[in-house]
Amino acid sequence: MTRFLLPLGAFALLVVVLIVGLRHAPEKDIIPSPLIGKSAPQFSLHNLFEGRPEVGNVALRGRWSLVNVWGTWCFECKAEHEALLFIKREGKVPIIGIDWKDNDADAQSWLEQLGNPYDAVGTDHDGRVAIDWGVYGAPESFLISPEGKIVEKRVGAMTPQIWQQKFLPHLQAAIGPGGL
């Protein structure tokens, strides 16, 4: 009897390892950002709209905000646009846009046609700021605390569900459910 115990135990262990692996499988595509919990990278970009102030860390200080990296060339960005407009209507955080390697005129007409969810949009023509933020696939969204720390990150299209399940709880935990 005991001679079967060891192989059986080894098999049971293997099953546990595989089940844990399978359960985490959907997260495997997402590469954890080393920036979470750290201060948002220093940046300063020209405003997409002429005559408006530069867009940089000053825009993030002292309040919760959502930084969204997008571009008119990015297919998924169109898919998430509705969700960004939803977050704007909800009015809990301002959205700061980083227009990644894009053409200004295209970006302006895109916002004119689809609606503008952004409080301010900075233009990252050469993609340097995106690299500092560790961006590898637009759209990407970062939740920034009032202290300027990156609290949460989403790679891929934002949806109202993800916003409510992954992002809002951070605000609620910090401010309290009555504060929002």
């Binding site: 080393p34 390697k101 993609g127 340097r128 690299i131 500092d132 933020w133 590898y136 696939g137």
Partner: protein
């Protein structure tokens, strides 16, 4: 009949030159170029994930190659440049993962499994050889053979 040599010459003239993916301007000296070559081959393209920075036609890879070039010219060491990338994209960007306490078990597991295997094999061999000894010592077993 058209001479073969002429045909070959025409074909050669019509052939399009092969374009390299990497369009980053060359570095000022061979030593830096060599380091650039090595770094862009051991850093991962984050968008395609199984390609090296050097081989990827993706826009982000081109931007990162340009940054590697700039950091090399700025006089940073290979390790500083690797760290620059890891700070932004995490260790995933390195094709050769670093040793750390978090992944130590991964490096140690083969050694542990090997030792375990040797121990099991040792015990099996010993118990089997004892079985043979016992058989030889048994006079009844001998009579059966003859």
């Amino acid at each position: 009949m058209l001479p073969t040599a002429l045909c070959a010459w025409v074909a050669l003239m019509l052939a399009l030159p092969a374009y390299a993916v990497d369009n980053v301007p060359p570095l000022p000296n061979a030593q830096l170029q060599q380091r650039y070559y090595q770094l862009t081959h051991e850093l991962r393209c984050m968008q395609c994930q199984n390609e090296a920075l050097a081989d990827s036609p993706v826009g982000l890879a081109a931007d990162l190659r340009l940054q590697v070039r700039e950091l090399l010219i700025a006089g940073q060491t290979d390790e500083q440049i690797r760290q620059h990338m890891v700070d932004r994209y995490g260790e995933f960007i390195l094709f050769r993962p670093r040793m750390s306490w978090r992944n130590a078990w991964l490096w140690g597991a083969p050694v542990v499994l090997m030792l375990l295997g040797v121990m099991v094999a040792w015990r099996v061999i010993r118990s089997r050889s004892q079985l043979v000894d016992a058989e030889e010592a048994d006079p009844n077993a001998e009579s059966l053979n003859s």
